[in-house]
């Protein structure tokens, strides 16, 4: 079976004009325009099987949104090929549109002033969904996403979380084969994120939906995407199991502590208490930031030692971000190799810095 989404040596370059500021700059640009070339996507190879759920991750500016736009036909590649469900998106745009669906986190596809149900009906029309299918799909979506009370409300009156749920429903009305989610959980609270994750997971198992999700927050992907592709500066630096990544590189954790008062040697005392672990301790305006290797000590132990050593008022355990993981990958001098399905052996296992 050929992959449902495949990209080969995908490249996207942008030519940006370089304009000096002010009136003189504007005139100079008019006479002799100068441009610089920005390569947003630099030779990306993707291969996604039907039914997979893939996270497409990277720091801001890595090229995630550009890739999504290339895969959905919004942008034309500078080089390389894209194939989605046997269709080349930017060439057979309308045929491709029937197979896919896109949810943009920042923008809704609902019509702003009319009740949500009207938007759904209109989409059903636009995608030529047969009446029986529409009814059945709607029932399921309303049930799973709990859209009942929202249907009669105009989109502009919905909260961000409610709107996100409706956008997800709207995206699935025409039963697409591939669902693209571009930063879908920005600004959402934990409860809503959990619900969305559950929903997407259910759609996968029930309908064999293929999902590609971009995010710069790894917390989103947990439990949803077994496979993670990590992007940095337009190139894929990792393609394999999500668990592997957190296991290998997510060992750096950080506890942020707020202290009761301005204890002069708080850092010293904390350092002494955790001496055998050798954490990195930084002083902040309100307390301390303790970074440690979770492979050598659990967060529970660290917290316990800290509470004994310094007057802790409040603390948070920070999740590992994509930025941190990418840094780790590079520090480990990794080069990307062809992904073996679901398991990836990076060249040069990074040693913890002791």
């Amino acid at each position: 079976m050929p992959p449902i989404v495949s990209a080969k040596r995908l490249v996207k370059r942008f030519r940006r004009p370089k304009k000096a500021p002010g009136l003189a700059g504007a005139v100079r640009h008019l006479l002799r325009p100068r441009h610089e070339t920005v390569t947003a996507v630099d030779g990306v190879d993707l291969s996604i099987e039907e039914g997979e759920s893939v996270a497409y991750v990277g720091p801001n500016g890595a090229g995630k949104s550009t890739t999504i736009k290339l895969l959905t036909g919004i942008l034309v590649p500078s080089a390389g090929t894209v194939d989605v469900c046997g269709v080349r998106p930017h060439i057979d745009r309308q045929a491709n549109a029937r197979n896919i669906s896109v949810v943009f986190g920042q923008r809704t596809q609902l019509w702003w002033d009319i009740p949500v149900i009207e938007s759904f009906r209109l989409l059903g029309d636009i995608y030529a969904v047969p009446a029986a299918d529409y009814r059945q799909t709607m029932d399921e979506l309303v049930d799973v996403l709990d859209l009942g009370p929202l249907l009669g409300v105009p989109a502009r009156q919905l909260s961000l979380g409610q709107r996100m749920r409706c956008d997800l429903g709207a995206a699935l009305i025409h039963a697409p084969r591939v669902l693209f989610l571009d930063e879908p959980t920005i600004g959402l609270d934990v409860a809503v994120k959990a619900r969305l994750r559950e929903f997407v997971g259910r759609m996968r198992t029930r309908r064999g939906l293929t999902v590609l999700l971009t995010s710069h927050d790894l917390g989103d992907i947990e439990e949803l995407c077994p496979r993670m592709i990590m992007l940095d500066e337009g190139r894929i630096v990792y393609d394999g199991a999500f668990d592997e990544v957190t296991r290998r590189f997510g060992w750096e954790q950080k506890v942020v502590v707020t202290l009761a008062d301005d204890t002069a040697d708080a850092a010293g005392r904390a350092g002494a208490a955790l001496a055998r672990v050798g954490p990195r301790i930084e002083t902040t305006g309100t307390g301390l930031e303790v970074t440690f290797d979770s492979r050598t000590v659990t967060s529970g132990e660290v917290i316990k030692e800290l509470a004994l050593a310094v007057p802790v008022v409040d603390l948070t355990l920070e999740e590992t971000s994509a930025e941190t993981i990418v840094r780790r990958l590079y520090e480990g001098n990794l080069t990307f190799q062809q992904p073996v399905r679901q398991s990836f052996q990076p060249v040069g296992d990074p040693e913890p810095d002791r």
């Binding site: 942008f14 030519r15 550009t66 736009k69 959905t72 036909g73 919004i74 942008l75 034309v76 930017h90 745009r93 309308q94 045929a95 549109a97 029937r98 896919i100 669906s101 896109v102 943009f104 920042q106 923008r107 596809q109 019509w111 702003w112 002033d113 009319i114 009207e118 209109l122 029309d125 636009i126 995608y127 030529a128 105009p154």
Partner: protein, 264 residues
């Protein structure tokens, strides 16, 4: 094809519903739009208080010209005002959505906005047109009414195309906030008066470059029986509409290619 037409009307209905949410604003918009048109009428009435005829054109005959232009544009406002949203959509990325739906992007853009207050302009235009026709002492032929209807329809298509075309600058200069499209659209006011009064330059602009004149002056000469106009002038509206649509399509495709090549 039938499906596209149905979707066109459904999208219009959506806009209509949206507009109804803001009822007071609709009335203010409608009144404002009508008042703008009224300025031209006030001028005409005053002008003809002192002049009896403008080179063979009476007040009533000129009202026919005004009526055609106003009605055609009112209808455009009601159904195809989305072209004025193109720049905003390209700039904030909403235009991406248009590319991932299985409906031709042009259709989606044109229906992105339906300024229902256009009904004021269309209504006023019809009133003015009917009054003008009634008092013009023209001879009605079997082709008079069809010609009129086709002329107005072509006028709507022409205005939509020209406004679409000028707003497509957004694909090449997305940040440009110029009022250039507004200025070009306003030039249809030239066609509200008989082209005989203008100099050669204006006549050329309004007949060849921005063929607003082909919608009002030429068919009206036939309709009202002024001078001895050749019969083929009956198709000038269609020539204008077809030419405009062709040019607009070409540039639209170029614009889409550019958007997909360059991003936003």
């Amino acid at each position: 094809m039938g499906r596209l037409i149905r979707i066109f009307f459904r999208l219009q209905l959506v806009q209509l519903r949206s507009a109804m949410e803001y009822r007071a604003d609709f009335w203010i918009g409608a009144v404002g739009a009508i008042l703008q048109q009224l300025v031209s009428i006030v001028f005409l009435l005053t002008f003809f208080g002192h002049i009896s005829s403008l080179g063979g054109w009476s007040l009533w005959r000129i009202l026919v010209l005004q009526g055609i232009v106003m009605t055609a544009d009112g209808i455009r406002e009601m159904f195809a005002d989305g072209v004025w949203k193109l720049r905003a959509d390209v700039n904030d990325g909403s235009f991406d959505r248009v590319l991932v739906r299985p409906v031709p992007p042009a259709l989606q853009q044109v229906t992105a906005l339906a300024s229902i207050h256009g009904i004021g302009n269309a209504g006023l235009g019809l009133v003015v047109l009917i009054i003008g026709l009634a008092r013009s002492e023209l001879t009605w032929h079997w082709w008079s009414l069809p010609l009129l209807v086709i002329t107005v329809a072509c006028g709507t298509v022409l205005n939509t195309s020209i406004s679409f075309l000028t707003n497509m600058i957004a694909f090449w200069e997305p940040a440009a906030q110029s009022a250039f499209p507004t200025m070009i659209a306003l030039m249809r006011d030239f066609a509200k008066f008989p082209l005989d009064v203008y100099g050669v330059a204006i006549r050329f602009v309004v007949t060849v470059l921005l063929p607003y004149g082909l919608i009002s002056y030429y068919p009206s000469r036939l309709l009202l029986g002024i001078g001895q106009p050749p019969g083929w002038w009956a198709v000038t509206p269609m020539i204008a509409a077809v030419a405009a649509v062709l040019v607009t399509s070409v540039v639209w495709h170029r614009g889409l290619n550019r958007y997909q090549g360059v991003g936003n």
